[in-house]
C-alpha cells in the first residue's frame, strides 16, 4: 500500500528536539522537513486512510475522526512546548516531500508573517454556561395551588427567575469578555457548543478564544479564576493553553 505525507504544522527551526517518544497519526513518529528556513512537521500516513475517497468516508467515522483529531492535537501540543507552531487544518496531505517543499515556497511569506505575529503567544478558551435550573423545592411542588390565580402567579415567578438567570449570565459573559479582551491581544468568538450533547451541563452562552503572550498567561488565568465564583448559577470554564489555532488563519 502506498503512503502519503501528512503535514501537522509549519514552524521555525527548533532549538530543542521533539520528545523522542512522540507519535502522530497512526502511531507514526513526526519528522521535520527543513526548507527555505522553515520547517514542516510531517509524518507518513497510509493512502488507505488518506486517499481522496477513503478520507471522505473516514471523516464520517466518529471514532476514527476523534482518534485522528487527538493525534493531530497531540503533535501540535508537543511542538508548542518547544516552539510557536502554525497549526494546519486537519488532514493536510501531500503525495511526497517535493509537494510540501513547493507548498512552502508558494506560501513562505504568509507563513513568516503569521509566525512573527504569533511568536510567544498561546490561545486560551473561555466558556460561560448557565447552570441548569435547580429543582423546585419538594414542598412547593407538592402543595397544590389553591386557585388558578395562585397557579398563574407561581408560573410567573418561575419564568421571572429563569429570565433573571439569563440576564445575569449575559451580563457576566459581557463583562468577563470585556476584561479578558483587555488582557489579551486578540480574540475570536466561536459558536456556542450544544448543551444537550457536549457533555457539559447548562447552556453555553459564551465560547471565545483569546490570544495571550506567554508572559501574561498567569495574570490571564487568575483573572478567569477570580470570576468563577462571582455569580451563582453561572459556570465559567477555562481550557488551554492551546497553540494559536483560532488566530492562524487570515490576517486579523
Amino acid at each position: 500500500m502506498s503512503a502519503l505525507r501528512y503535514v501537522y504544522a509549519v514552524c521555525r527551526p527548533l532549538d530543542a528536539p521533539l520528545q523522542a517518544e512522540l507519535t502522530g497519526i497512526g502511531g507514526a513518529p513526526p519528522a521535520l522537513l527543513h526548507h527555505h528556513g522553515l520547517v514542516a512537521v510531517v509524518s507518513t500516513v497510509p493512502e488507505a486512510d488518506f486517499g481522496e475517497q477513503a478520507l471522505r468516508a473516514r471523516l464520517e467515522d466518529l471514532d476514527w475522526l476523534s482518534a485522528t483529531a487527538r493525534a493531530h492535537q497531540g503533535v501540535i501540543a508537543a511542538l508548542s512546548t518547544v516552539t510557536t507552531p502554525l497549526p494546519l487544518r486537519l488532514a493536510t496531505v501531500f503525495r511526497d516531500d517535493s509537494g510540501i517543499r513547493a507548498m512552502i515556497e508558494a506560501r513562505e511569506d504568509d507563513f513568516r508573517r503569521a509566525l512573527d505575529r504569533l511568536e510567544g503567544r498561546v490561545e486560551w478558551g473561555v466558556k460561560v454556561f448557565v447552570e441548569p435550573e435547580p429543582a423546585e423545592p419538594a414542598a412547593a411542588a407538592a402543595a397544590k395551588p389553591a386557585s388558578g390565580r395562585d397557579y398563574l402567579r407561581s408560573r410567573r415567578r418561575h419564568s421571572e427567575a429563569h429570565e433573571e438567570r439569563w440576564q445575569r449570565a449575559e451580563s457576566l459573559a459581557r463583562s468577563l469578555h470585556d476584561r479578558l479582551s483587555r488582557h489579551s491581544e486578540d480574540f475570536r468568538m466561536h459558536p456556542a457548543q450544544n448543551p444537550a450533547l457536549s457533555g457539559a451541563s447548562g447552556q453555553n452562552v459564551l465560547n471565545a478564544a483569546y490570544l495571550v503572550p506567554r508572559a501574561a498567561c498567569e495574570e490571564f488565568v487568575e483573572l478567569v479564576d477570580r470570576t468563577k465564583d462571582e455569580t451563582p448559577g453561572i459556570r465559567v470554564e477555562l481550557t488551554g493553553p492551546w497553540a494559536a489555532y483560532s488566530f492562524s488563519g487570515e490576517e486579523a
Partner: protein, 114 residues
C-alpha cells in the same frame, strides 16, 4: 512563574485528554488552510462539523449517556448506511413477493429472471 519562553502549564485538560468538542472545533474549523494533493471538499467537512457540534464531549461518554443517534444516521456512520441498504433490499424483496402472490405469472419469479 511563567517566563516569556516557556509554554504555560496546562489548565485542566488541554492536551490529548481535552474535551473532543474543543479539539474538533479547532482542528476542523481553525488552523491554516492549505490545498494539499488530496483534495477534500471542505463543504463536506463543514456539514459534518455542524453535526458534530451537536454531538459530544467524547464518544464513549455519549454512548454511556445512551446518545448514539449518529450510529443510525447514514450521513455519519458507514454501518448505518449498510443497514439502510439492507433494509431497503428486504423491503423490495418483500414487495416483489407480495406482487408475485397477488398476480402469479405476471411478475417473473427469481428463478425465471436468473
Amino acid at each position: 512563574m511563567t517566563t516569556a519562553g516557556r509554554f504555560p502549564e496546562p489548565y485542566g485538560q488541554s492536551g490529548s485528554g481535552a474535551n473532543l468538542a474543543d479539539i474538533l472545533e479547532r482542528v476542523l474549523d481553525k488552523g491554516v488552510v492549505i490545498a494539499g494533493d488530496i483534495k477534500i471538499n471542505l463543504l463536506d467537512i463543514e456539514l459534518l462539523t455542524i453535526k458534530l457540534r451537536l454531538v459530544v464531549a467524547s464518544v464513549d461518554k455519549a454512548k454511556e449517556m445512551g446518545i448514539d443517534w449518529w450510529e443510525t444516521d447514514p450521513a455519519l456512520s458507514s454501518s448505518a448506511r449498510r443497514n439502510e441498504l439492507a433494509k431497503e433490499n428486504a423491503e423490495l424483496r418483500e414487495r416483489l413477493e407480495r406482487l408475485q402472490e397477488l398476480a402469479p405469472g405476471s411478475v417473473p419469479t427469481e428463478e425465471e429472471t436468473s
